[in-house]
């Protein structure tokens, strides 16, 4: 058939590689040029189909990305004219004229037409726009920025695909109806808007990180997506908190292999086999934390990452620098007070000063009421009571934790802890 079958195979491999690494970037540019998510999606599809057809004959172009963007845009304009009767536009020609204009409205202030990097950032900020419901932000970001299929997102969040599909349809309609601009926010709005982006990224990471068995293969991919997203944001917008979040995710993810035993049981930090930790990721995370801390404009993500870095530095659990950890929690609680951070600080205080000190803090916390429904608070209390030989109190606290826990691996952990308590004679 073809005279040079290996040449064609080489071209197809190249196209495949480009699809895997560049398609979301190209998509982001097409969204800017075409002014519409759905048009851009079809244009992307058409561009790669055109490449599949033409590149084996003509060879891989010198600038494949530019070729694909151009092909997608051309086919879209052409397609809009042919499709005019199938769309809502009253005057398709007016729309195509706008698109054919090299400087359409959305191109706005950015004179650099090759700013593909900025297009990805625009895409992220648009998908995380506060006008969209939080779960819609997550679904839209995963689909449009990360390229996940609706069904993949659904599986990862254990939600039916139609539900995710509706969130995405509504989100796009909202963007259209509210006229949400496709742009990177201005300096004044940036901190708050970046907050929303980081929140989405962290949410995705935690969905992936929390699962420790069963579906964990799929859900580990979610953590990987979050890290990928986190890298993108940190690369394009090296705000200290973006660096801090990336560091936090890398440091937590570095421990993944040690978090579950061969039997699939949860292994807590103090019992993990540290030789299974990913040292490369730890190194990367620690370096990012340093960078973020140096800026002096760091926030909660950076501080949590710094705490994770202190843990990661300790060759064994017994070597952990608890005073430093307590100090970092002190700072964290000053800038971003939360009951959970207080709980974690209390656990660190117990390690630094002994269980009695830690228990006093946890009891005070629980008395305030905010953590009454939080299984980890009761679990932590149980552990400290056990260390103090207060077996009955430990038993009661484990039972309380078990009544609140939802994840199976954590449930099994608590049950093992409960079972390992010494029997008492009186009830």
């Amino acid at each position: 058939m073809t005279e040079q079958p290996t040449a064609t195979a080489g071209v197809l491999d190249a196209l495949d590689a480009i699809y895997r690494t560049e398609s979301r970037r190209i998509f982001a540019t097409l969204v800017r040029l075409l002014g519409d998510f759905d048009l851009a999606e079809e244009a992307l599809h058409d561009a790669f189909r055109a490449a599949l057809e033409q590149w084996p004959r003509e060879g891989v172009p010198a600038n494949p990305r530019a070729w694909l963007v151009s092909a997608g845009r051309f086919k879209s304009i052409d397609g809009i004219r042919r499709q005019a009767r199938f769309t809502a536009w009253d005057d398709a020609t007016a729309h195509t004229d706008t698109l054919a204009d090299p400087a359409p409205a959305w191109h706005e202030a950015d004179p650099d037409a090759d700013a593909l990097e900025d297009d990805r950032l625009r895409l992220v900020f648009t998908c995380c726009h506060p006008a969209l419901a939080p779960d819609a932000q997550v679904a839209l970001t995963l689909r449009e920025v990360c390229g996940l299929a609706t069904e993949e997102i659904a599986r990862a969040f254990l939600v039916p695909a139609p539900t995710i599909a509706q969130r995405i349809v509504r989100a796009k309609a909202r963007i259209r109806d509210a006229g949400i601009p496709y742009q990177v926010p201005g300096l004044a709005e940036l901190p708050e808007r970046l907050d929303a982006v980081l929140r989405v990224v962290y949410l995705v990471f935690n969905e992936g990180y929390a699962a420790s068995s069963g579906e964990s293969v799929t859900r580990a991919d979610l953590s990987a997506e979050a890290i990928r997203l986190g890298r993108l944001v940190a690369e394009l917008l090296p705000d200290p908190e973006a660096l801090g979040l990336l560091a936090l995710m890398l440091l937590h993810d570095a421990r993944r292999a040690a978090r579950t035993s061969a039997q699939g049981e949860l292994v807590l930090l103090n019992a993990q086999d540290r030789s299974l930790w990913h040292r490369g990721q730890i190194g990367e995370g620690a370096a990012l934390v340093e960078r973020a801390l140096l800026s002096r404009r760091f926030g909660p993500y950076t501080l949590q990452a710094a705490i994770a870095a202190v843990h990661a530095e300790a060759p064994e659990a017994a070597d952990t620098d608890w005073p430093q950890i307590v100090g970092l929690y002190d700072v964290l609680l000053r800038i971003d007070p939360s009951p959970v951070a207080e709980l974690n600080r209390a656990a660190a205080v117990a390690m630094r000063d002994g269980p009695t000190a830690g228990l006093a803090l946890i009891d005070a916390l629980l008395a305030r009421g905010e953590l009454a429904q939080y299984h980890l608070a009761h679990g932590a209390r149980a552990e400290l009571c056990r260390r103090l030989g207060r077996t009955e109190d430990a038993r009661a606290a484990y039972l309380q934790a078990l009544s609140l826990v939802r994840q199976q691996p954590e449930r099994q952990f608590l049950e093992r802890q409960l079972a390992s308590l010494p029997d008492t004679k009186n009830f």
């Binding site: 809502a88 139609p162 509706q166």
Partner: protein, 125 residues
């Protein structure tokens, strides 16, 4: 001429199957596909995911509306279809009757408007 055979059934009809029974049932359908293919009668055949995976789409005044769920909640769900070529309605009914599901389910047979495969125009509306 082309006919669409729609398979309507319930989970209850096959829920008592053992795993082996279910595998065998699926293989029977795939064998029937191959059989129809060999006869030159098969245009398309697919099993559908359950009704809970469906969405219903409408376009009204330029606005896309999407609702969860199938178009109609029926006691028996649409579980699959065969699109076949047949020279007569009788042949179409025979082909439909040959579908393994026909033993438990109901097969609705609908004639399509398609241009017939020997080139004549199909009957118009």
């Amino acid at each position: 001429m082309r006919y669409l055979c729609l398979i309507y059934g319930t989970d209850a009809q096959t829920s008592h199957f053992s795993a082996q029974g279910m595998d065998h049932y699926i293989n029977e359908h795939l064998d029937y596909d191959a059989h129809l293919q060999a006869l030159g009668k098969l245009v398309a055949a697919e099993a559908l995911q359950p009704a809970g995976t469906a969405v219903t789409v409408r376009m009204r005044n330029g606005k896309l509306s999407v609702t969860d769920g199938p178009f109609a909640e029926t006691s028996e769900q649409l579980g699959g279809f065969y699109l076949v070529k047949a020279d007569s309605e009788e042949e179409a009914l025979q082909l439909a009757a040959g579908i393994p599901s026909a033993r438990f389910s109901s097969i609705e047979v609908r004639k399509a408007f398609s241009i017939s495969d020997n080139g004549d125009q199909g009957s118009g509306p």
